[in-house]
Symmetry: D2
Subunit: 300 residues, 4 copies
């Protein structure tokens, strides 16, 4: 049975760690808030580390699933970080971070004899729990092959984007932008229908069962129809963070993206209106409000 | 065998007329350019009328499939138009026109004892030929029931939007807006990938086989990846016309739609650059050009 | 003393008619709501006509100052319109209308032996009262020379745009777009300052006394700082109408204008929120609201 | 005669240093490229330092005029930086930097007994040479009073924004955003005129001599009319940098700014098309190109 380190037990990470444990991996976990790690230990018999550096051992894979670039850097190079532990590890970085962060971490790890695999995921906590994540990978070829069983235990499919450690992050950000754009487009088209006498539910039902019969339009479409954004699969501030990462990479790559500007502004307006506790789909409230519609959740 | 009148034998209309004929309907057709009608007559033994008014007969359904509001009004109220023929017809208006045009036509028909069914369709000429259209209906309830066999002979599914003759047009416009937004979003995200080192094909392959595994992303996605817009399923000027109809209805309904403004501008820029002969998916060229990419078809 | 016909005694027209009367022109006026004409007659001794056609006389200038294309067409070709009166008139059309309307009217007048001068104005009612309008002209060269004393009695300066009767309207719309864009830009920049700790008044004071020391930034800037839009110089629905005219001409000329899309949407949102009674500068509320600021007038 | 340190002899800084020298200040300068400092020394007899730390002396004002946040941080805290020299200085930071950078620098200086005045400027190199800059100040009250003679020797007016060292930077960024928006608005309206038959020069002449008779519309308007952007008063990449600073501060303050998104994208597209050597006014090329117009300088 293979030993695996795991850092980051948020709603995504906890579900993923459980799956790895159930798939027979011998898990040792670290979480900033120790309680969450203890809870997992109690339930699944995994070992708890008191700092990331304790997870390292030559040849051992260490998965990280963290909130952002800063958290990732902290876990790698901060006090008690991975780079203070044994070298030779394979760091599987599954957080949604910037391509630059991935490239920097890859370089740092490579210099000390570790290997680095970038492996961000698509899917909400339910998908993580159900092993239904879609996973993008990039980075060291041999390392990717070696950690494949771990990746396979977490998701339903893998898409590889080559050697550049930042490439998988670009793919992930590209996808999140595509999702946010779909949400805004649905929000506008349903407001358009509603104000012109066509019910939201019927309109979306048609789209999501025909031309747009795919998970994003089916699932997010339901939320945008009902306009209830209180069940949080992906928190609005994280959505805003991702759209900032999109804009930074767009700036670096010199790619004007007008839709990205609009969805960023929708999320920013939602934050300004105190909606940081809602799901990021609440960006859809903007289109309704601009149309003079006052959805039930508008003031939340 | 049921008699059916049919007006408008463009690439959509001709395929639909063929299907009605093959489904056993006894067709009498009119087309402004008579040659197309003659050709259909030669192939399928349908009768050719020399003006729309000849198609009318009490109780007979007459399908119209025309380019725009003006063409529809001409066929209904112009010289030799339907309202100069026998009354009591059921006009099945399948063109993508404004909700106002539908409402006006419905009123005119109702006043003279006709009935009016609005039935715009989703699908390109290939879908029309394959009886794979998705059809939105609204208008007179009894008339809709009566013409259902005709509708069924043309498409793979029907979605009804109630009594208002304009409602089906709102639904159709809502859908075309949703499609145009998906095209622009794909265009931006693929330019984003390309300029950041991730190939267009691989990126789109991931999206269209997972989160966005639906006809619009699969089919239009392929075009946006390849950037070849010369095979015209739906001509760019018609796409621009539709986005104008969206904006007019958005104005009437007081619905600000920032994405609609952007896709309209993309189509307008494409017209300004002489791309009126391309498929409307060529709106995607804008995102590539703004990113300094010069696709092979850019100058067309 | 020269006879002049005058149609349209709204807040602009009434002020202009008064000035013509005071400048010594012998005025005969028509207004749809007759009371306004009677009032002017009582004050200034002008004659009142009961329909536009009564104003015509060969060689006589007739000024029109109306709300929109429809009103202009009604006055020219409707029942009792100018074209039912004596021919040979010089129609000075000072309303903000579409270039197409001007071209159509010019053609109609020319055909019956009239002449047509397009002469839309910049300035609010106070400027009209103070003879401080800026006037754009285009159309028949000789006619423009002939009516110059009338133009001069109304404004402080004239800019000519050649023979095309629509050209002056294009210039007028271009200007209104430029003003609306300045309002939105000020709204965004003052919200930006306010949320980042810099007071609105001090910021605008700097701009309007230095780099932007010109009437638009000084006058509209004051309104945007104070966020009180209840004193109506130019009503919001008229501003929306003008931005629609801008977009129509932009469509006809194939000119994508992203700023125009945004200001149109701001005005449309204001209408959707029930602000049709406010001054058009209230489009600035959008930027404040999106930033989570709740100006005193926000709910009006 | 007062001793003053000066760091940064780019096109702005060199002109400003000359003015201080001519105003009787005893200047000691540092520039990363020493030649520029030597040249100034040869012309004006100023002293040349070999690193910023040599400029410090208790009570002495040190002006910095640098490209961006990074350059400023380097001069303050880098090797040989101001904080390695004598303490007690008054750092007058006149660069266009982020409010955060100003706040960080103020804190660092305060901690070691220096004082910090933020004093960014409006004006191009010609204005700097002519002592026609407009200067925004914020920061330590007593320090601002003390350095006022220096400020006065550089500009034609001062606007103060209080104690927060970042406030003057917010005001400066707000102004640059307002300028960029004016450029885009002019670009759109002139393309609108041109494609609708109204000459660019005549249209702009009207605006800049009436409603918009102020420096920004007069000066930038001339450039946008002529579409020649090769004479560089403010380089395009610096404009893009500033719009990024605007967006960062807008993000921090939670202020959606749709116009800011558009001008950023215009500048980004210009960079993507290889126009980094042009003046930032070249952002106006975007509107012309989207309208299918091919200005003479379009390919540069």
């Amino acid at each position: 049975m293979k030993d695996v380190g795991f850092v980051g037990l948020g709603s995504m990470g906890a579900a993923m760690a459980r799956n790895l444990s159930q798939a027979g991996f011998n898990l040792r976990v670290f979480n900033r808030t120790r309680e969450k790690a203890e809870q997992l230990a109690a339930e699944h018999g995994v070992a708890v580390a008191s700092k990331p550096s304790e997870l390292g051992e030559a040849g051992r894979p260490v998965v990280t699933m963290l909130a952002d670039d800063q958290a990732l850097e902290q876990v790698v190079t901060g006090p008690g970080g991975l780079t203070e532990g044994a070298s030779g590890i394979i760091h599987i970085s599954m957080s949604t971070v910037s391509p630059e962060a991935s490239r920097r971490m890859a370089e740092i790890h490579t210099r000390r004899g570790d290997r680095f695999v970038s492996a961000p995921v698509f899917g909400r906590p339910e998908a993580a729990a159900a092993r239904k994540l879609w996973i993008c990978t990039s980075g060291d070829l041999a390392a990717k092959a070696e950690v494949r069983p771990i990746i396979d235990a977490l998701g339903q499919g893998v898409f590889d984007f080559g050697d550049d450690p930042g490439a998988a992050n670009i793919a992930k950000l590209a996808g999140n932008f595509l999702i946010a754009s779909a949400i805004e487009a649905m929000a506008e088209t349903l407001a358009f229908g509603e104000k012109n006498g066509v019910e939201r539910a019927g309109l979306m039902e048609m789209f999501s069962s025909t031309l747009f019969a795919c998970p994003i339009y089916v699932n997010y479409g339901r939320q945008v129809v009902q306009q209830n954004y209180e069940k949080v699969g992906f928190a609005l501030p994280l959505g805003l963070k991702d759209m900032q990462l999109v804009q930074s990479a767009a700036m670096a790559g010199r790619v004007p993206m007008p839709f990205a500007g609009i969805v960023r502004d929708r999320l920013l307006a939602a934050m300004a209106k105190g909606r940081g506790k809602l799901d990021w789909t609440a960006l859809a409230l903007g289109a309704s409000e601009d149309a003079g519609l006052t959805p039930l959740t508008a003031n939340r």
